[in-house]
Amino acid sequence: MVKQLIRYHIKQGIWPLACFILLAIFSYGFGSYTVINEFENYEASQQPALLNTVLVSPFFAGFAAILIAVFAILMLGSERGSGRSLILHALPFPKVWLFWIKWSIGVVTLIVFPIIGFFVSWLLLQAFGGINPFDYVTWSSLFQDFGLFLLFDVTILTIFLFAGTIAGDIIGQLLLGTFFLFLNYFTYFSIYAVALLGFGVTYEELDKPTNFLMTITTPFALFFESNVDLNLTYPVLFCFALTIALLFFGSRLYIRGANERLGRFTIFPKLHPALIITFSIYTTILLAGIIGLISSENQFLYWLAIVILAWPTFSSYRRMIGWSR
């Protein structure tokens, strides 16, 4: 039964999964060749870091984040939009299995490809370049990078799957997933826009209390800061806790999803007013922020832009999402 469900889901998400193969070939195969050709041109101090990025590719991890988000959208948004979930939910097994199968396929993909890529790279380096990577790198540094990249990608998968449990179609899942993923950045820039442009607060006053938004409460900290010697304990804990929390709520929301509302922006219409207001506030503040910057940080023009933009933004979202449907 589970085998058939796995097969069914792989087929539904075959395109992003097939793209993973291409991505792995580019990241690990071509990456190894480039290093073999250029290895001697690098300084000895740079060689370990270079080999590290070949054996555990950040290029793969970065593009895998996009592919895994697409995979999550095909798993849930597309399934709901096409009405396939009606057939699946009528089958004799607990609905929650479907959520876990989707997540598990994503996680297994994110684990298996880098592992295969690692061994392929090792083999290529050894066989064609005569380079034994373990003369330069340690298992612990590889494990650390692998763990960070895996957590980065799994967090993004979970965010998009969670968004899919609320959304009623592809568009809803794409927008909600993107909003949740970049929520820290939107919040950070909104605070700066209002405080700097609206109230004339200085950058120095804002930096310390808001810094955590950029360095801790985002999966991107794991990706961009992994090669910088920074303490990643808090971002790791944040992503871990976020993944657990979203899995917990996502698996519950998935089984409570109302199939009769498929095809709408979300399947929980009671959420719509809150979403419309939240999206409107962020959009208005950020758009007005751009106008504020263009107008040489003029405080009056910033607030005027807020007043002018508020209603069109609100009514656009209301039209797109629907206040109560």
Binding site: S82, I87, H89, N259
Partner: protein, 288 residues
């Protein structure tokens, strides 16, 4: 046996249907009829567990279809469109359902594919409407589910496919004690097929009646007048008028008494068909 009690479905404060209470005994064919948008498909989807009811319950031998997933192996819904099986080949669909229905007869459906020259590697959506519906019916039978729910099964089929479909349905039902609920607008077919009829009218799901009893609840007359009078009674439904000859449905004793007062020259009883029952039930009040 499938038992439905006080089943009610509301979507966004709109009542779709309410208070559906009925059973589907083995070996019976129940026709579900109602106007477009009456909630027939929604009712079928709720029965099979794809939609959650707002109130009420659907039970298989006392266990809830919605809360005990295993009970859903006793039901199979044939949807009105194969688009939900997009990307799946016939072979994949067979293997898929084989995994979920413990009594699935794989040989049976494979034999059907062979005898109908259906390549198992073909996509379900590449079949013609008739081929797809016949295949889904056979697939439904292969599951051996004791309750089959068919949503507009012959909609869009040509005469020959329709005849084949009904022939297969009847012959297979004769072999097994399957309970079938058919939601359809093809009233002529239902007339020759169904044992019972159930209506959804103004959101209310009426308890199934034996088809003969349902038809007996109204009379169909062909009457001839010297001058056709204004026939205005709530329980009288004019089906057609050709010159002085009027064909009408009488829905109650009061309607019958009213008809007598119109002094027809000639009055001839006609057999009530399913279509008449439909018109009498859903369109009869328009002349009130």
């Amino acid at each position: 046996m499938l038992t439905v009690s006080h089943l009610t479905k509301q979507i966004d404060r709109t009542m779709i249907y309410e208070n559906a209470s009925f059973t589907l005994p083995a070996g019976t064919i129940t026709a579900l009829i109602g106007r477009n948008g009456a909630g027939k498909t929604t009712l079928l989807k709720t029965l099979v567990g794809a939609l959650e009811p707002t109130r009420g319950k659907v039970e298989w031998n006392g266990e809830s279809i919605h809360h005990v997933p295993k009970t859903r192996e006793h039901l199979f819904l044939v949807p009105d469109s194969v688009s939900v099986y997009r990307q799946m080949t016939l072979g994949e669909l067979i293997n898929f359902y084989n995994a979920f229905y413990p009594n699935f007869e794989k040989t049976y459906i494979e034999n059907y594919c062979r005898s109908s020259n259906l390549d198992r590697g073909r996509r379900v959506t590449s079949l013609s409407k008739g081929q797809a519906q016949l295949f889904l019916l056979q697939l439904a039978f292969a599951t051996n589910a004791p309750v089959l729910l068919l949503d507009e099964p012959t909609d869009g089929l040509d005469r020959i496919n329709k005849r084949d479909y009904l022939k297969q349905l009847v012959s297979l039902l004769a072999e097994r004690q399957t309970a079938v609920l058919i939601a359809s607008h093809q009233l002529e077919e239902l007339d020759s097929l169904a044992d019972r009829v159930m209506t959804i009218e103004k959101h209310l799901v009426r308890e199934p009646k034996a088809l003969d009893d349902a038809k007996a609840s109204m009379q169909k007359w062909q009457v001839v007048y010297e001058d056709v009078p204004e026939l205005s009674h709530a329980d009288l439904h004019v089906l057609s008028q050709t010159g002085r000859v009027v064909t009408l449905l009488v829905l109650s004793d009061a309607g019958a008494q009213y008809l007598e007062t119109t002094n027809p020259l000639l009055k001839d009883a006609l057999p009530v068909q399913m279509e008449d029952y439909f018109l009498g039930t859903f369109g009869g009040k328009r002349h009130g």
